[in-house]
């Protein structure tokens, strides 16, 4: 491509998303003007999506190591040791911008991309989770996006044959124009099969395997790194189209290559396609790569080098095969009906060199592309709203006149209501491993050929994060750990997806910095390091940003899946025990938002020591087979937690709750969202042992009643009248049937419109 083109069209780098300073930096690194192809490559590699240029500096302090970590951030996915020589590979990634423009394909290719990240490492994917954030379902646009996104996940994940076992669906108007789709995938393999995305061995072949290359998704990474303005939405060609059938074939072919020992290094072609995979593999291997673009299998004719390098056609991999095994690679790919072509070789010069028709069309140092993007220290300032909203005094909130009605309203609000409408569209059982499926605290998947299982959960409360990003992000980690521990699994490590607005706005950058600090603190305290993840910025429609949404994906391990603990009440007569201390904390709560229409106040305080103790108690009790059921308390507090246990188990309970020495009013007791709490049930014969265990681990525990009947009844024990709070009911009494209807019918009802 002639250099004149760059000069002819003034400042063409700006249209590609590079600033003038970045363009100068490219010139400095090359020692000359880049040509059109090189400029395209730098612009995608230096997009926020690929380079983390705005976030690298704040991500530096994350805790990323621990005895369980086999692979931390920097690879296609993180890996933890789960014992028995098994390794679990996992990562979460956003596909927000594409899903806003074309919900079905956007979400589908998000699932496809994260699945490839897992089998790229040599692992068989065994489960997916999807954290979805949408506008208020009262809006037709939000419903259309919700329906399309769920359809896309279902259409892709079901066909590939990986069970979708969990996730979230949260609704708030700040996501109206910027829905979030964060897809997590988890795989398993033996330690010795771990593959990495590095190109090593000068002279080794470089192969493109999988699908052919077309013009779809060009500049997808750049698109994903800018605000979603109307102009950007017109760029539909930046959205890729997925083919789950090819993905399934590629998955099986890659795992067969790994099993046969044909793989030296391998990387998925996702964002920035061949550009990203080639320069990252070369850079990791401390090598270079020469690629003959004529040899890249195409699905369209007349593609330019620029288009080949920037295409984001799906279901492709870049492979450095074990020397001499190229024919075997072709044979395996051929068996699965896929392409495999040697397109170049590993070189010693550290350069990515591209040729077409025997002529060099681009050359740039792999490191410059992959690692030398500028690192920005963005300006940060605390938004004004933070202190104003935090100042809201919950003491002035009027008492709840009808506790039952308040509970039913909470259960019927889409963010809390049953997500059955979503997960019944997902095949959550394929793979013969789903021990606990969707709708529970965490999903539990049995590992093939083992009694061990992994527990998986995604969590975030973006109202907490909006009001206090640091505390909110720490809560997300704590809740994820609690969810995993409720099933009896030991929390091991996290992956994360940081979804924010435009980082060039100091207020947004402040949210991001604070959230990462909070996540870091919680991960350190709970011993669950960060093994990877992704950052999705510019989730704005030109005016308003989404709420800060740092989604945490937690992985835990349970040594024997027979020990897993379900969420729902199990048997009449089981004793209900409340764990943890309830404080007057309805600030930032679901109750305050839904029943009183206020989204303000302080998010609950977080005691990470207490969270750790609670998790250890839950895991310890499960391993001793003491528990019949366990469920954490989070959004909606004790009331919603009890209702969910009753609905899941189709059993009621009769409880008498002590209002505490501080004399909490019944509505505060029921709906406070204090952390480090859970509700467990157990057989009468095990109560003494369990209470002794809880006491020894310094976790407050109170037996409050029994499971049974078809109503959820909670009475409040007064303490010398101290609990009295004018106008508040003294008793909650609702039939399980009514709870169940409110909970189950909310989303189907609104989606039928």
């Amino acid at each position: 491509m002639p250099d004149e083109l760059v000069k002819e069209q003034e400042c063409i780098w700006r249209t590609m998303g590079l600033t003038d300073e970045e363009y100068e930096r490219v010139r400095g690194l090359l020692g000359r003007d880049p040509n059109y192809v090189e400029l395209g490559m730098f612009s995608v590699m230096w997009s926020e999506h690929c380079s983390y240029k705005n976030t690298r500096a704040v991500l530096r302090g994350l805790p990323t190591s621990g005895p369980q970590v086999l692979q931390g951030p920097g690879e296609n996915a993180g890996i933890v040791d789960v014992g028995d020589g098994l390794a679990v590979v996992f990562k979460i990634e956003s596909h927000n911008h594409p899903s806003a423009v074309e919900p079905y394909q956007g979400a589908a290719t998000g699932v496809g991309g994260i699945i490839r990240d897992i089998f790229t490492m040599g692992a068989r994917p065994i489960a997916s989770l999807d954290s979805l954030w949408l506008g208020d379902l009262g809006s037709a646009r939000a419903r259309r996006l919700f329906s399309g996104i769920v359809g896309g996940i279902s259409g892709y994940g079901n066909a590939v044959g990986i069970p979708t076992v969990g996730g979230q669906a949260v609704f708030h108007r700040s996501y109206e124009n910027n829905p979030l789709v964060n897809a997590m995938c988890v795989g398993v393999m033996r330690h010795e099969d771990i593959k990495r995305g590095a190109a090593t061995g000068v002279g080794n072949s470089v192969m493109v395997i999988g699908s052919t290359t077309g013009r779809d998704g060009i500049h997808g990474a750049t698109f994903a790194s800018a605000d979603l303005t109307d102009e950007a939405i017109e760029r539909k060609s930046a959205v890729q189209v997925g083919d789950p059938f090819r993905e399934k074939l590629l998955l099986e072919a890659c795992l067969e290559l790994v099993a046969r020992g044909c793989v030296l290094g391998i990387q998925d072609m996702g964002a920035a396609g061949l550009t990203c995979s080639s320069c990252e593999m070369a850079s990791r291997g401390g090598a270079g790569m020469i690629i003959d673009l004529d040899r890249v299998p195409r699905r369209e004719t007349g593609m330019t080098p620029y288009e080949v390098m920037l295409s984001e056609s799906q279901e492709r991999m870049l492979l450095v095969p074990t020397p001499g095994r190229e024919d075997e690679v072709r044979e395996v790919l051929g068996k699965w009906g896929l392409e495999a072509a040697v397109v170049g070789e590993v070189t010693a010069d550290g350069m990515i060199t591209l040729t077409e028709g025997g002529v060099q069309v681009a050359q740039a140092p792999a490191r410059a592309l992959a690692d030398d993007a500028p690192v920005y220290h963005r300006e940060s300032s605390k938004p004004e709203y933070v202190d104003a909203l935090a100042a809201f005094d919950t003491a002035g909130v009027p008492p709840c006149a009808d506790l039952g009605d308040a509970l039913l309203r909470l259960l019927g609000s889409p963010s809390i209501a049953s997500k059955r409408w979503v997960w019944e569209q997902y095949d959550h059982q394929v793979g013969a491993g789903t021990v606990i499926g969707p709708g529970a605290d965490a999903a539990v998947i049995r590992l093939p050929g083992s009694q061990r299982g992994v527990a998986l959960s995604t969590d975030c409360n973006s109202r907490y994060c909006y009001l206090n990003p640091r505390l909110g992000a720490a809560h997300a980690v704590a809740e994820a750990a609690r969810n995993v521990a409720c099933t009896g699994a030991r929390p091991l490590a996290i992956t994360n997806c940081q979804n924010f607005g435009n980082p060039y706005k100091p207020e947004v950058f402040w949210q991001l910095r604070e959230a990462i600090a909070g996540m870091s603190e919680a991960c350190r305290a709970l011993g669950t390091p960060v093994t990877g993840g992704n950052v999705s910025l510019s989730n704005e429609d030109g005016e308003t940003a989404i709420r800060p949404t740092p989604v945490i994906g937690m992985v835990g391990v349970i040594d024997d899946v027979e020990l897993r603990v379900p969420m729902g009440f199990q048997a009449e007569g089981d004793v209900v025990v409340l764990l943890g201390a309830t404080r007057d904390e309805i600030g930032a709560s679901e109750y305050l938002a839904i029943v009183h229409g206020v989204e303000a106040g302080q998010a609950p305080a977080l005691d990470l020591e207490a969270e750790g103790r609670l998790c250890r108690l839950l895991v310890g009790a499960a391993s001793k087979r003491l528990l019949s059921s366990a469920h954490d308390m989070s959004e909606g507090g004790l009331a919603v937690a009890l209702a969910e246990c009753a609905i899941a188990g189709r059993l009621g309970a009769a409880l008498s709750v002590y209002c505490g020495d501080s004399g909490l009013a019944p509505d505060r007791l029921l709906f406070s969202e204090s952390g480090a709490r859970a509700v467990v049930t157990l057989g009468q014969g095990r109560v003494a042992e369990f209470l002794a265990l809880a006491a020894s681990m310094n976790v407050p525990a109170a037996a409050v009643g029994r499971v049974g009947g078809d109503r959820l009844c909670v009475e409040f024990e007064e303490v010398g009248g101290a609990a009295a709070s004018g106008g508040t009911e003294r008793r909650l009494d609702v039939s399980v049937d009514a709870l169940s209807r409110a909970y189950e019918e909310a989303i189907p009802c609104v989606m039928q419109e």
């Binding site: 066909a159 074939l249 019944e424 569209q425 059982q429 394929v430 013969a432």
Partner: protein
């Protein structure tokens, strides 16, 4: 007792059938769709999934896989063939079973536990169930809406070819308990001879209590018992 599991490109319940068969106590191995020699198996299973991506129409391409001629000969010889979900669709497309499959009336994929009633215990696949027994098996499909023309349907009902019907907890095949719009609440059928079974529910997903149920085990046991007793329909 050895099950042979036919693997088409895009099959994704193949490994699950093997896991289930082994959990119940039988041997099971894979047959790649281009293999035409299928000797040594006591029962063939066409598993669920999305053969060839289900592009064009569910199972429309898989019926042309080389292995299908051998499957037809195997069936014609009186030995047992089970098609589950996508495998059922392959059997319909290849004419080994009558009828066709339409999109679910909800137009959505549906994955959930489903009650079905055993309508015949005379087949090699249902001998260990009780007539009218109500069992729960998972369903997971987007195209499970069984259709056949009136005459075919009447004939099938008369000949006892309906093996499983969607029903409610009391065993009634009500419209509310029909998850996909299938005619006559049909969940599974067999051919006239009774040695070829197609069913939308997944018995292999109900072979271990830890995975949510074990009522599918009897299907594997039924076939094994029948095979041990000679295993061929004349």
């Amino acid at each position: 007792m050895k099950f042979g599991i036919v693997v088409f490109p895009g099959s994704n319940c193949d490994r699950d059938v093997q896991t289930a068969a082994r959990a119940v106590g039988y041997d099971a191995d894979f047959i790649w769709h281009t293999d035409t020699s299928i000797d040594g198996y006591d029962c063939l299973v066409l598993p669920g999934g999305f053969s060839y991506g289900d592009y064009l129409r569910t199972a429309a391409i898989a019926r042309f896989s080389p292995v299908m001629e051998s499957v037809a000969r195997y069936a014609a010889s009186g030995r047992t063939v089970i098609g589950i979900c996508n495998g059922f669709q392959v059997l319909l497309e290849s004419g080994l079973l009558p009828g066709a499959m339409l999109r679910n009336t909800s137009c959505k994929f549906v994955c959930r536990p489903q009650r079905i009633r055993v309508e015949s215990t005379r087949t090699p696949f249902t001998r260990k169930f009780r007539m009218g027994q109500v069992i729960t098996l998972p369903i997971a499909h987007g195209d499970g809406n069984y259709y056949a023309d009136d005459a075919t349907l009447a004939q099938m009902e008369m000949d006892g070819q309906v093996v499983f019907r969607y029903c409610d907890e009391s065993g009634e095949p009500t419209p509310e308990s029909n998850p996909n719009g299938s005619l006559n609440n049909i969940a599974g059928i067999c051919n006239k001879a009774g040695n070829v079974l197609g069913m939308m529910p997944h018995p292999e997903r109900a072979a271990e209590r830890i995975l949510g149920g074990a009522e599918g085990r009897s299907l594997f046991d039924s076939v094994a018992q029948w095979v041990q007793g000679g295993g061929r329909i004349a």
